[in-house]
């Protein structure tokens, strides 16, 4: 059971400082958007073209060099970060290690985001959007978000449908921002959902949490394989060839996701549920530096 204690907060604070050294103000090293107006920092100039707002013309430069240039800005005053936590049945496979890890990671990252002065919103989903917490700012609200996450549980027979959940999420009209999807990523429409987020000006970030059985299943001989979400059961005689095929298909699936994320600049992190949250956070922070 997820518990909020001083030790946890201390560790979160420690990771916040480490993350600041790595990311600065860019939580999870998200991209800085170039803006023509409304930014917090002038990053450059561009030639004036017809239709540009005259308010952003650098008149001083025009006076000195006799040319019309428009100032370019970077940054935003309000950074929004949304957490989409997978609460489908597949996250509870085995002893529920995957969901517990997902809860702990999301809690820690919420803290980091709040500490980074981001507005943090939460949403959980299985085959639909099941619960939402509106975006809030300020570390003083962390316990509320913590309790929200801690109250989430995984129900039986709840298949994953990220696309449906994402459609519901974007329909809410939240402001665009970083959308961290915490899931095992076995949803066949996972990439489609990321596409939707991306098209709606959200910046997806994928935290894929898998356990050892997902990665290296040790099943041999006559077994019954049951889909933990749909309840389908198939009796098969599994041999080494089948396991090799499984590993190959899994690797292809990962490679496909990696290529997609790489192509669109989406952050992707594979987290083993058996790994401690501290190690996982460390990896996330270090990956941001790279």
């Amino acid at each position: 059971m997820l518990q909020l204690d001083a030790d946890f907060l201390k560790r979160c604070e420690f990771y916040h400082r480490a993350a600041q050294r790595t990311w600065g103000r860019r939580f999870l090293a998200r991209r800085e958007e170039l803006r023509l107006a409304g930014g917090t920092e002038v990053t450059g100039y561009t030639d004036y073209t017809s239709g540009n707002d005259l308010r952003y013309v650098d008149w001083n430069r025009c006076a000195r060099h006799d040319e019309l240039v428009v100032k370019l800005f970077q940054g935003n005053e309000d950074n929004y970060t949304y957490f989409l936590l997978d609460c489908s049945t597949s996250m509870r496979r085995g002893d529920g290690q995957k969901f517990a890890t997902a809860q702990e990671l999301s809690t820690a990252l919420v803290y980091l985001a709040l500490a980074n002065l981001d507005c943090v919103g939460l949403a959980t989903f299985d085959n639909r959007l099941t619960a939402e917490h509106p975006a809030v700012r300020g570390k003083q609200l962390f316990p509320r978000l913590f309790n929200f996450i801690a109250d989430q549980s995984v129900d039986d027979a709840k298949p994953t449908d990220l696309l449906t959940a994402t459609e519901a999420f974007v329909a809410r009209g939240y402001r665009s921002g970083l959308a961290i999807v915490i899931s095992d990523g076995f949803d066949p429409r996972f990439v489609t959902a990321l596409d939707l987020l991306r098209r709606r000006d959200y910046e997806p970030y994928v935290l894929r949490i898998v356990d050892v059985f997902d990665e290296e299943p040790e099943v041999l001989g006559g077994v019954r394989l049951t889909d933990v979400e749909a309840g389908q059961t198939v009796r098969q005689s599994i041999d080494e060839t089948d396991l090799a095929n499984y590993r190959q298909v899994l690797e292809e699936h990962r490679e496909q996701l990696r290529k997609y994320c790489s192509r669109y600049g989406i952050g992707l992190m594979h987290i083993r549920a058996e790994t401690s949250v501290a190690q996982s956070l460390e990896r996330i922070v270090q990956a941001g530096r790279a």
């Binding site: 496979r93 059985f213 099943v219 006559g222 019954r224 394989l225 933990v228 198939v234 499984y246 899994l250």
Partner: protein, 566 residues
């Protein structure tokens, strides 16, 4: 194809159970998977072999079951039953099969080949075994049980008789009359006279043992007391060479624990239809009698025919009670004969008879001085009966009335008492006619018809036999002839119950003489193959099916249990 046990087909229903065991998967550890799609795709990538491996394994298992069920049904090809032979093996168990010209002997060799014939009987064929000796014996009826056939062969032993081969073949033909593919194998030495004919018969194979060889045999042994002196024995031995080679042998003739005589001789080789024999006579002294043996020594093909025995009874002088004139010639002759011991009963036959065991009474010329009335009980010899005193014996004699005879004697009978007695030249002038109440038999008559010697089976109330010599001693030269003592001796011995004075060896007591001829008939050498079909190894089909089932089992085991992958 047909089946011996079609009812075993119901085992085929096990195929359903087998299929269920393969197709209905029970148990197996339950694994909850979240990456079910990944699993499905991984399983979909199975190779065609892997996907069909289970069904191929099931197919093999069903095939295995089918083969086992087929084996249980014990199939056979109908063609094989149609072609199955019915055979009769005839084993010659005659004495000639003792011949040891082949190792170990002809009979053992024949048995060995007969065993080969039995071994060639396949599961669809039947065989019977006959033995041919003096009689034809069915040792084993038609059967396909080899053990039974082997046991029947083991029970055979050669006899000392001849072989009824022709009758055996005829019996075999009757046994095969209503059976297809009949075949007769005759295991013999082909010494039988009809062996050549038998070999020419259809569906008869003669497997002959042995070849031309030397064999000498004692073929005859006869002994008799000498006529003039019964204490001496005249012995005649016949030795024959049946072989195709000349033989030199040593013949020993002698009485047991008595005198022996040895003779060495050479017999030339027998030719076709002509045997070489040698007859040798010996005289031996043996009043006490005993076992007389003629023995050939030296290596011979058949040892059983190298010896003959004859039992010679004791020939002690017979005691007779003489009743008649003490000065008669007949008494003098009787007293002179070595085979007869006379007790004079003229003074009283009854008293004299008490001194003698089983006396023979000789009555001669009885008169009033020689009363014949007595209680003498025993066989009688009446020589020249003259007196009325014979009324005791119910003989009706008219004294003094004689019949003149002018002719010589006519010997009518072939009776044993006349053996060696030639009376045809004896002259008889007068005979004494006698009327008999009992039935009689005239053994010797005169040429004019008057009886000279009469045999009476039972005389009056005494119920004893009697001989009556009708001649008058003064009116014939019979007493002067050498035949008279011999005739009297024969009559006395016959009355005393000695049946014959000639002792012959019983030839078949040891071996049938014809079996000594061990030279086989000329029969084309038969290269007999007892096996009907060399390609047929004689094993039932289920054995091969079982082998196939084992191969299928191994294949299925490797395919399924070992999870062979391609």
């Amino acid at each position: 194809m047909n089946f011996f046990s079609p009812e075993q087909c119901w085992w085929g229903s096990a195929a359903v159970l087998l299929a269920l065991l393969y197709l209905v998967r029970l148990g197996g550890k339950l694994h909850e998977v979240s990456a079910y799609g990944i699993w499905r795709e991984a399983l979909a990538r199975r190779s065609l072999w892997r996907r069909w491996q289970r069904y191929l394994s099931l197919l093999l298992a069903i095939l295995l079951l089918a083969v086992l069920v087929l084996a249980l049904c014990d199939p056979y090809f109908t063609k094989r039953t149609d072609e199955a032979r019915h055979m009769v093996v005839i084993v010659d168990t005659s004495a000639s099969m003792f011949a040891a010209d082949v190792e170990p002997d002809r009979f053992a060799r024949s048995l060995a080949q007969a065993r080969q014939a039995v071994g060639a009987v396949n599961m669809f064929e039947q065989m019977a075994i006959l033995s041919a000796s003096k009689t034809v014996g069915i040792e084993c009826g038609m059967t396909g049980d080899r053990d039974q056939l082997y046991a029947a062969l083991e029970s055979l032993t050669p006899s000392n008789t001849g072989a009824q081969l022709t009758e055996a073949v005829e019996t075999a033909r009757k046994m095969l009359a209503d059976k297809p593919n009949g075949k007769i194998f005759v295991f013999t030495d082909a010494a039988h006279p009809d062996a050549e004919k038998i070999a020419d018969l259809e569906n008869v194979e003669v497997i002959a043992q042995g070849g031309p060889t030397a064999n000498a045999a004692v073929t005859n042994l006869v002994a008799r007391p000498r006529l003039d002196d019964p204490t001496l024995l005249e012995v005649v031995v016949e030795v024959t060479n049946f072989g195709s080679k000349a033989v030199e042998r040593e013949l020993t003739v002698g009485l047991q624990d008595g005198e022996e005589t040895t003779l060495t001789f050479t017999l030339p080789a027998a030719e076709r239809n002509r045997l070489r024999s040698k007859t040798q006579a010996f005289t031996m002294e043996s009043a006490a009698g005993g076992l007389l043996a003629a023995q050939l020594t030296g290596k011979d093909t058949i040892a059983a025919d190298d010896r003959l025995y004859v039992a010679v009874p004791s020939r002690q002088p017979r005691e007779v009670v003489f009743v008649g004139p003490e000065d008669s010639e007949v008494l003098a002759i009787l007293q002179a004969m070595p085979g007869i011991q006379v007790v004079n009963g003229t003074g009283g036959p009854d008293a004299a008879a008490q001194e003698v065991d089983e006396p023979v009474f000789v009555f001669h010329r009885l008169s009033e001085e020689h009363p014949a009335t007595c209680n003498c009980l025993g066989p009688y010899l009446f020589v020249e009966p003259l007196d009325h005193a014979y009324e005791t014996f119910d003989l009706e004699i008219e004294p003094g009335e004689t019949v003149p005879v002018r002719a010589t004697i006519q010997q009518k009978s072939e009776a044993a008492v006349l053996a060696g007695v030639e009376l045809s030249t004896v002259v008889v002038e007068e005979t004494i006619p006698i009327a008999f109440k009992d039935s009689t038999e005239s053994l010797v008559t005169a040429t004019s018809g008057e009886p000279i010697l009469t045999y009476i089976p039972t005389v009056g109330y005494t119920k004893h036999p009697a001989y009556v010599l009708h001649t008058r001693t003064g009116k014939t030269d019979l007493l002067l002839r050498r035949e008279f003592p011999l005739l009297i001796t024969n009559l006395v011995r016959d009355l005393a119950g000695v049946q014959s004075n000639v002792y012959s060896a019983q030839p078949d007591r040891f071996i049938d003489p014809i079996e000594s001829n061990v030279t086989p008939q000329e029969i084309a050498a038969a290269d007999v193959d007892f096996v009907a079909d060399r390609r047929d190894r004689g094993r039932p089909l289920w054995v091969y099916l079982l082998g196939l089932a084992i191969m299928l089992f191994v294949a299925e085991w490797f395919l399924f249990q070992r999870g062979v992958t391609v």
